[in-house]
């Protein structure tokens, strides 16, 4: 039931924001903040109170089911295991920061902005806990539409183009997934006479090879568009660079994770043979993504575009790790999801802060910011180092785990992927050099350093990334059972 409350708080908060904003924008902001923090405290409080231990055999921590459309075997089924739990925490952490970092950025049409922000978060949270495939698709779309508005209304100069592209790419994938879901539904129904969209029921479907391959492709395309995998990554740089800061934070930090989550939750367990069959291809595309994303990132002059391409590169590791079918690799993938969410999110937040002060995203017009803003420089240094995979920071653990176990499967691909790490040092250092080091450009007045609100944001991110780098064990324990279950099947 707490899962329902978590989502309802966000939905209701969003509506309330919209209604209040015409009277008072400040109250609207506070309502948004309180709604996200409340939603955050629900799973966190539950965890601290019950201290659930993942026991062997049963990974499910919470399970809630209610009737929805019984005529079609659709139920409102939410459940949470370790994997969902860590992703939910990430969602609300970044969600809180997203509200905070749009505090001053959005001055017009505030109510509708926070409405969309909270509804996107609700959709994402729903995606991570929905265990009915119809419901999953439902939430998949719920997070899409408000995100479209966030980009299309509050974005930068080229926002409409970016918003279209984002929507159409995702929707194409989503509809193909819908077809696959329907195919599963009928195949299972015809076998057992029990027509249901429930995840656990459909898990027991036996498929012949051809059917499994096609149905899996439908799911996989939807997820790798979101991830994104290289030939389908086209929407990402536009959407990320045109979105407002909070939008980029949510896109990079959370929306990309839903793709990876989908692959781990649905594609691998439901189609083990079929996904093993295309494993080599997916790994290859993952490696191509790592190298190609890194090279393109190095070539960008637009700061947000640069960071967007680093996401393509980092998500390559996810694809590589998932299709290695090794326990340690999957642990690494989950770590990568969390740490990439935090580190890239932080970089986007910084890009947003710089843009607020300098009114540009072009790194050629920046430089010498360390002199002007030493605090931000130091924090920037930290996250750039996280992004290039420095030990003691979370990303290192993740990429290390992925690489160490893929070496078993394919030494050649692992070697190329490691080269990607070197390239990541190149682009990361370029950010540092161009933005923070060098001569201070002549500006009328030097920009102000971090404000108290911005300190809260970067402090939370810093603590999280350092903690995950030094002591990743809680996460590994949490998802251990899930990962073992998937690899065994």
């Amino acid at each position: 039931m707490i899962l329902v409350w978590m989502i309802v708080v966000l939905l209701a908060g969003g509506v309330l924001c919209w209604l209040v904003a015409q009277r008072n924008q400040l109250i609207c902001r506070w309502i948004a903040l309180i709604a996200v923090v409340t939603a955050f405290s629900i799973p966190l409080g539950w965890y601290l109170r019950f201290k659930p231990v993942v026991t062997a055999g049963n990974n499910w921590l919470i399970d809630y089911q209610a009737n929805w459309i019984p005529a079609y075997g659709i139920s409102f089924h939410l459940a949470m295991d370790g994997l969902s739990f860590v992703l939910i925490l990430l969602t609300f952490l970044l969600g809180t920061l997203a509200v905070l970092c749009s505090w001053n950025e959005i001055r017009e049409r505030t109510g509708f902005y926070f409405f969309n922000l909270l509804w996107t978060l609700a959709g994402i949270a729903g995606v991570f806990v929905a265990m009915d495939l119809f419901l999953f698709y439902f939430f998949w779309e719920v997070m899409l539409v408000p995100m479209y508005f966030l980009i299309a209304i509050y974005g930068d100069f080229n926002r409409r183009y970016a918003a279209y592209k984002f929507f159409l790419f995702t929707q194409t994938g989503g509809l193909l997934m819908l077809l696959s879901i329907l195919a599963m539904y009928f195949i299972h129904g015809q076998q057992s006479g029990n027509y249901s969209f429930d995840y656990f029921t459909l898990l027991n479907t036996t498929l012949n090879d051809t059917a499994a391959r096609w149905i899996m492709l439908g799911f996989l395309i939807a997820f790798v568009i979101k991830l994104p995998m290289v030939p389908l990554h086209n929407w990402l740089p536009d959407a990320h660079s045109e979105a407002p800061t909070a939008g980029s934070l949510i896109l990079a930090g959370l929306l990309l994770k839903t793709g990876a989550y989908g692959i781990i939750r649905f594609v691998l367990p439901m189609f083990p043979q079929a996904s093993a069959g295309i494993g080599w291809l997916a790994m290859l595309l993952g490696v191509i993504g790592i190298v190609y994303g890194a090279l393109l990132a190095f070539a960008q002059t637009d700061l947000k575009r640069l960071i967007a391409y680093t996401s393509v590169s980092h998500m390559g590791f996810v694809l590589l790790g998932v299709f290695a079918f090794r326990e340690i690799a999957l642990q690494g993938v989950v770590m990568q999801l969390l740490t990439h969410g935090i580190s890239t999110g932080a970089l986007f937040v910084m890009a947003g802060m710089l843009k607020e002060r300098l009114h540009t995203r072009d790194i050629d017009q920046m430089g010498g910011m360390w002199t002007a803003m030493p605090h931000m420089g130091a924090i920037g240094m930290l996250f750039v180092m996280a992004s290039l995979g420095l030990p003691f920071l979370g990303n290192f653990v993740a990429e290390f785990l992925v690489l160490i176990s893929t070496f078993d499967v394919s030494p050649v691909l692992t070697v190329i992927a490691s080269v990607g790490l070197v390239l990541s040092a190149l682009y990361s250092l370029r950010i540092m050099q161009k933005v923070f080091l060098g001569q201070l450009q002549t500006v009328t007045q030097p920009p102000a350093d971090l404000s108290a609100r911005e300190w809260v944001i970067v402090a939370a991110l810093t603590v999280a990334i350092v903690f995950l780098g030094l002591y990743p064990q809680p996460v590994i324990d949490m998802v251990g059972g899930v990962v073992t279950g998937i690899v065994r099947s």
Partner: protein, 477 residues
């Protein structure tokens, strides 16, 4: 005719009376408002009568008519749409130069025609219903006779509808020659014994042409955009909903009687039609700048989707009803917004006029946005479960080609719906607000009904279960 048969026809008799009552009211020089309110009450009377007689259903009225759950559902849908169209007509025509009173006679006659289609089980009643509908529509479309567009649209519809009626009659004649009967079930029985011959298939083909014209299926869709654009906004809403619902109902009933979905040739023809509708409709709408034309093309695409449900036979009837319900609510709210924004001189059909509507009047824009999302089939709106049920029906019958085309063409469709939506949310130009000339009560009433429609869309989108169960229950008897 027995007492019970008479009782079963009561709703349709009230509907027919409505037109006569309006004539009498005009003769006694009553005002537009009185006519409007009387019409509203009469339509409610039809619904009440349907409720009153529900226990006596199903009842056959041989040889022409049959009143059953199926007919009750479709008639209910038609009356519901007419109620909204009537409400929209009031503020629309009160502001126009034309005397609005005779409009209601035509409106109720057309409704009667459409309702007769839903209960007909015989070629004669089919033809009567269809002609009643078409003839009223000629006049309705050209009702604002001082406008060039309206007269052109009326002429176009007149010529093409007359031609299609000829096709229909010829087709009926061929089938009668082959099977010796004009009753749907008797034709079905004759086919079972003798099999389908070339003449019969030709007859079916000719009928398909006529029906295709009425439903604006590709390649018989050429009139749609011009008529949608030229007709007054409430009449366009009427054509898009009521007239098509009636024709689709009779198509389903005929197909069920003669087992059309088991005839390979017919299935092939309808598959081609469906694919052509989905692709052509969506592609032609892509670059439209005129909202009414755009909705015309989008409704072509939507009837392509409906044909997918139609092709899946008996399993598709429930999804069809649900889809038509969602589609009617959606289109009525969209046309409601168009009507509200129309000025006395011209209808608000130019996309540029909608720029920044959200920041000028958020409520209207919200209603319009939700309607467009529903047309695009986005969750939380009625369009989503509707499209989902149709896909379900299609996949169940292993019609993969149609399912994939449906999915891909709705992605194309998404583009132009998003285009309108992003226009609604764009930065507003500096324009003067339309002046209000009528009593605020009617605006309030229209707004209220549009908000109710919007809530219905959301309710159907989130909890479709109740309606699905009700529809199944109705179709049982």
């Amino acid at each position: 005719m027995t007492h019970l048969q008479f009782l079963a026809l009561l709703p349709f008799l009230i509907l027919a009376t409505a037109a006569i009552v309006v004539i009498l009211l005009i003769a006694f020089k009553q005002s537009h408002t009185v006519i409007q309110i009387t019409g509203f009450v009469m339509m409610c009377g039809v619904v009440l009568a349907m409720w009153y007689v529900r226990d006596t259903l199903p009842r056959e009225v041989p040889p022409l008519l049959v009143v059953d759950g199926f007919a009750a559902l479709f008639t209910g849908l038609i009356i519901f749409s007419v109620l909204v169209v009537g409400l929209l007509s009031y503020i629309y025509f009160e502001e126009r130069e034309e005397n609005p009173k005779e409009y209601y006679i035509l409106l109720f006659l057309a409704t009667l025609g459409s309702a007769v289609l839903t209960i007909s089980r015989h070629f004669v009643s089919l033809f009567i219903g269809l002609e009643l509908l078409s003839v009223s529509l000629y006049a309705l479309i050209a009702y604002l006779r001082n406008r060039n567009n309206a007269v052109e649209a009326g002429m176009k519809y007149l010529v093409l509808a007359a031609l299609s009626s000829a096709f229909l009659l010829f087709g009926m004649a061929l089938i009668y020659m082959e099977t010796g009967s004009m009753e749907f079930t008797a034709i079905g029985r004759a086919l079972e014994t003798s099999g389908s011959s070339v003449l019969f298939l030709m007859g079916i083909g000719l009928i398909v042409v006529a029906i295709g014209f009425k439903l604006a299926l590709v390649p018989f869709h050429l009139w749609a955009a011009d008529v949608y654009q030229g007709a007054p906004a409430p009449v366009t809403a009427f054509i898009a909903t009521v007239s098509k619902i009636g024709v689709f109902a009779v198509l389903i009933r005929f197909a069920q009687a003669v087992h059309l979905q088991q005839n390979t040739l017919a299935v092939t023809v309808f598959t081609v039609l469906a694919i052509a509708c989905m692709l052509t409709g969506n592609i032609l709408a892509l670059m439209q700048q005129n909202i009414k034309r755009l909705l015309a093309y989008s409704s072509i695409a939507h009837f392509g989707y409906l044909l997918v449900a139609f092709l899946s036979g008996d399993a598709g009837v429930g999804p069809t009803v649900f889809y038509l319900l969602a589609y009617s609510i959606t289109l009525l709210s969209a046309f409601g917004i168009i009507t509200l924004l129309s000025t006395t001189r011209r209808d608000a059909d130019d996309l540029s006029g909608y720029r920044g509507l959200f920041w000028r009047s958020p409520l209207m824009a919200a209603i319009f946005t939700i309607a467009l999302f529903s047309l695009a089939g986005i969750p939380l709106t009625a369009g989503f479960p509707a499209k989902f049920f149709i896909l379900t029906a299609g996949v169940q019958q292993n019609m993969w080609l149609l399912a994939v085309v449906l999915v891909l063409s709705s992605v194309i469709g998404l583009y132009y719906y998003l285009r309108i939506i992003s226009t609604l949310f764009a930065a507003p130009p500096l324009t003067s607000v339309k002046e209000r000339t009528l009593h605020p009560f009617f605006y309030a009433a229209t707004y209220t009904s549009l908000v109710v429609l919007m809530c219905l869309l959301a309710w159907l989108g989130v909890f479709p279960g109740f309606i699905v169960d009700q529809v199944q229950a109705f179709l049982q008897f």
